[in-house]
């Protein structure tokens, strides 16, 4: 890790004179009729230079992926380039015949995708899928292809490469799959590597490793890398140069330091400002009485059990205990599969814990049933991750907000009255009340989701990855809203997230979970500034863009 900045310094010098491996000139890509705008990519120009990583940053729909697909000639049927050139060497990809273009794919340039699972053929062994690259270009004998496959797997650092070669994709972990993808991309040692959000689907630690790997290989082979991401942390981590895209245009381009440290365009500024700072400020420990007390909570899943096959047992929540003080925000962080969500679901009893105590204001909710549970549960509510899945597409907002109260015996008109108040509370127009969810943007929906959680006037709110699905700028707004509400309504908040930056920003205390256990629990400041547990430390170190930020702070 530490050496990277040094390396990069050298790289950026190197690029000055090097001739570009690819040159994109005034690229225009048209969207099909009826799309929200005419051009997905509008007059975009940039160079890909050997030995340099160009990061293209932008929020969803900014057209960053389109340009990548255009380079590979993999645009969807309905969108087509309508102007400009993509020069690789002296050839313009857009004017090449299918055959010529096919020949360049994999050989001249290769691509890795966001979803390593779906990007691999589930029915083919890993080795075969790699071997195909050679086959496609009529290289090597089948035997040699297999051997090269194993070599490549070794190069990308997969443990037990022979075994991995014989495996099917579903038998590998997310990180390993992405490594396979990379191996595949490297097979013919292309000059250009296009990476489309290659780490977005991965956990922080894995992400760090993959970034490391890409960086490393790129160095070694002096490739030109086009790296598409929405995460400035990643940018800070890996980029030599940055191009910021918005609405299909490049609004700002420059060296990573210039763009991150002295953004010119205000969109860029807005984006960067929106990134949660890693600095968790020291906060006074909250002395209030605990509202929620969890003791020795356990939950195990039994999978694949049948009358003959013995199922596997997963200890999702393993002897978890903590208390949540009135008005406090407790963060639960961890990577996927750490059991953080299971905890949250046990608290609201969407899951039934196997054992343990969940005292809410003195009442143990862990084993409540039926009517009693129904009544008590209104005191602890949840905000969900996916703003699209969390609202019933067929109900008007008004009903979504009033169903709960009405279920608890509030008369209809009162409930609707309350609903419109709530909408204003979360910063939406009261007129929203008789519109349908699909008429709102992601951020607005999340606000509705929050309003719904508040509708029952709960004492505790569980926010499960509440902002993970949002673009940074929106994310920031929603976080602010939460903070504001919390202050005004004096809520106790359990904030479940994989994103330590977010955690750092909003949490008083943080519990770090791994494999179902809480490995460390303490004030946010301590967690970030002197983590005791090794795992915590690795998590913190994996946070992309961390050095840069630290450097910035200490510089």
């Amino acid at each position: 890790m530490h050496s990277i900045r040094a390396l990069r310094a050298r790289a950026s010098k190197g690029t000055m004179m090097a001739t570009p491996a690819a040159r994109i000139e005034h690229l225009k890509i048209a969207l099909p009729e009826g799309a929200d705008r005419a051009l997905a990519v509008d007059d975009v120009s940039f160079d890909l230079v050997p030995g340099e990583i160009l990061c293209i940053v932008g929020e969803s729909g900014s057209g960053k992926s389109m340009s990548a697909n255009a380079m590979m000639g993999l645009l969807p049927d309905l969108v087509r380039p309508v102007g400009g050139r993509i020069l690789v060497g002296d050839k313009d990809i857009l004017t090449l015949s299918d055959k010529e273009r096919r020949d360049m794919r994999g050989r001249a340039m290769a691509m890795i995708f966001q979803e390593p699972m779906s990007a691999l053929n589930p029915l083919m062994k890993v080795a075969d899928q790699i071997a195909e690259v050679y086959e496609a270009h009529g290289l090597l004998t089948p035997r040699e292809r297999k051997d090269r496959a194993v070599q490549l797997l070794t190069e990308v650092g997969i443990p037990e490469p022979e075994k991995a070669a014989r495996a099917y994709p579903f038998q590998l972990s997310g990180g390993q799959r992405q490594r396979v993808m990379i191996a595949m991309a490297l097979a013919l040692e292309p000059k250009i590597l296009i990476a489309d959000e290659p780490t977005t689907a991965l956990d922080v630690t894995t992400q760090a490793q993959i970034l490391d790997l890409i960086r490393h290989l790129q160095r070694e082979r002096d490739m030109a890398v086009m790296f598409i991401t929405h995460d400035f942390g990643v940018v800070a981590e890996i980029a030599d140069r940055v191009a910021v895209m918005q609405f299909g245009k490049i609004v700002e381009e420059g060296s990573v330091d210039d763009v991150l440290d002295h953004p010119q365009h205000d969109y860029t500024r807005k984006l960067i400002a929106a990134i949660p700072r890693l600095s968790a400020d020291r906060r006074a420990a909250i002395e209030k009485a605990p509202i929620l007390a969890v003791e020795g909570l356990n939950k195990t899943y039994h999978t694949g059990g049948s009358m003959f096959a013995k199922g596997r047992v997963v200890h999702a929540v393993n002897d978890v205990s903590f208390v949540l003080a009135d008005g406090e925000t407790l963060g639960i962080v961890g990577e996927s599969g750490s059991g953080k969500s299971s905890v949250g679901r046990c608290l609201v009893r969407l899951l039934d814990p196997d054992s343990g105590v969940v005292k809410l204001g003195g009442v143990d909710m862990a084993y409540m049933k039926g009517e009693e549970l129904r009544r008590e549960r209104k005191r602890i509510q949840m905000i969900f991750q996916d703003p699209y899945a969390s609202l019933n597409p067929r109900s008007r907002v008004g009903r979504i907000l009033s169903e709960g109260p009405m279920a608890h015996g509030k008369p209809k008109d009162e409930a609707y009255q309350r609903a419109s108040e709530l909408l204003e509370l979360v910063g939406l127009d009261a007129s929203a009340i008789d519109r349908y969810p699909h008429e709102f943007s992601g951020g607005q929906r999340q606000r509705i989701g929050i309003a719904r959680a508040l509708a029952l006037e709960p004492e505790v709110i569980i926010a499960d990855e509440a902002v993970s699905a949002l673009d940074v700028s929106i994310q920031a707004q929603v976080l602010d809203l939460l903070a504001d509400l919390k202050a005004r309504l004096n809520l106790a908040l359990v904030f479940i997230t994989h994103d330590l930056r977010v955690a750092a920003q909003v949490c008083d205390r943080i519990a770090v979970m791994q494999k179902g256990r809480i490995v460390e629990l303490g004030p946010a400041y301590d967690i970030f500034n002197d983590p005791r547990d090794a795992y915590t430390r690795s998590l913190i170190e994996a946070i992309p863009g961390r050095e840069k930020e630290l450097a910035a702070m200490t510089g």
Binding site: S390, R394, H408
Partner: protein
């Protein structure tokens, strides 16, 4: 919402054609008594009058001199009636079973699905035949039989939808907000399963019509109702001397069923936009 539904639907040319054909059939069925005041069973001309010979019997007469075209008109009534009612009935059986199985899962699911398998394992058509024969052919026994053999797919579909939808966050939210199971099933989940159900239903009507005609063809139709399948079955033994007796009813069935299938696809495009892109 209705507007763009129609937009998406009408984008599928086949669907529009289908709709047109179906409307035609419906109209004919509706005004059959006006078009042909005589009972379709009435022996009006010499037997085996070939088509296109006498203007008042454009499609000729059958083995005992009944007017084929009026038979077709009245037959439309039966086909549509049976198609619709039996579909509704099988929805009434299939949806609750599927919903309960999918929503509660676990033991309930197992029990209900085994039960469903019972009906899926016995070959449909054979079962239908036996049911009709046993309860003696009549419009009721036919509808019942068709419904009984066609509900399992509904149950499976609904179950599938419920299984996935009950994981949705808005359903969990509803649970947290203290709504009853009934309310959740009825207000949260069911409305969101409608699209696929509607599509399936439209195809089921088609299948039901085919089933009815097949039963009538085997002589298991309602003997007091003129139906297309019956006409073909009755004409089968004389197919050599009178091709038209089996030809025209067959075409009628073909067109109606085709129309319904086309509409089904149209509905699919219109109601499940995500799937719509496939195949286009």
């Amino acid at each position: 919402m209705m507007g763009d539904f129609w937009k998406r639907f009408s984008r599928n040319r086949g669907a529009v054609i289908g709709l047109f054909i179906l409307l035609l059939v419906v109209v004919v069925a509706a005004i059959a008594p006006l078009l042909f005041p005589d009972s379709p069973w009435r022996m009006v001309q010499r037997p085996f009058l070939p088509p296109f010979e006498m203007s008042e019997y454009p499609l000729g007469t059958d083995t005992i001199g009944r007017n084929v075209i009026s038979g077709l008109a009245y037959g439309a009534q039966v086909s549509l009636l049976v198609g619709l009612v039996s579909t509704v009935v099988s929805l009434l059986i299939g949806i609750p079973i599927g919903a309960l199985a999918g929503y509660f899962g676990g033991f309930v699911d197992d029990a209900l699905m085994r039960f469903t398998e019972l009906f899926q394992t016995v070959p449909n058509f054979a079962l239908a035949i036996v049911l009709v024969a046993i309860f003696e052919p009549s419009i009721y026994s036919i509808i019942a039989a068709i419904a009984i053999v066609s509900w399992p797919p509904v149950a499976r579909l609904v179950r599938g939808e419920f299984l996935s939808l009950r994981q949705r966050e808005y359903v969990e939210a509803a649970t947290l907000s203290g709504q009853s199971h009934a309310a959740i099933i009825w207000r949260q989940i069911l409305p969101n399963t409608l699209s696929p159900i509607i599509v399936l239903a439209s195809l089921m009507v088609a299948t039901a019509i085919l089933l009815e005609s097949s039963l009538s063809f085997l002589g298991l139709g309602d003997p007091n109702l003129m139906s297309w399948g019956y006409m073909i079955g009755a004409a089968r033994t004389v197919i050599r001397q009178a091709w038209w007796l089996s030809f025209f009813p067959g075409v009628a069935i073909l067109l109606t069923v085709l129309a319904l299938n086309l509409i089904g696809e149209g509905l699919n495009d219109a109601l499940n936009p995500r799937l719509a892109r496939k195949g286009k």
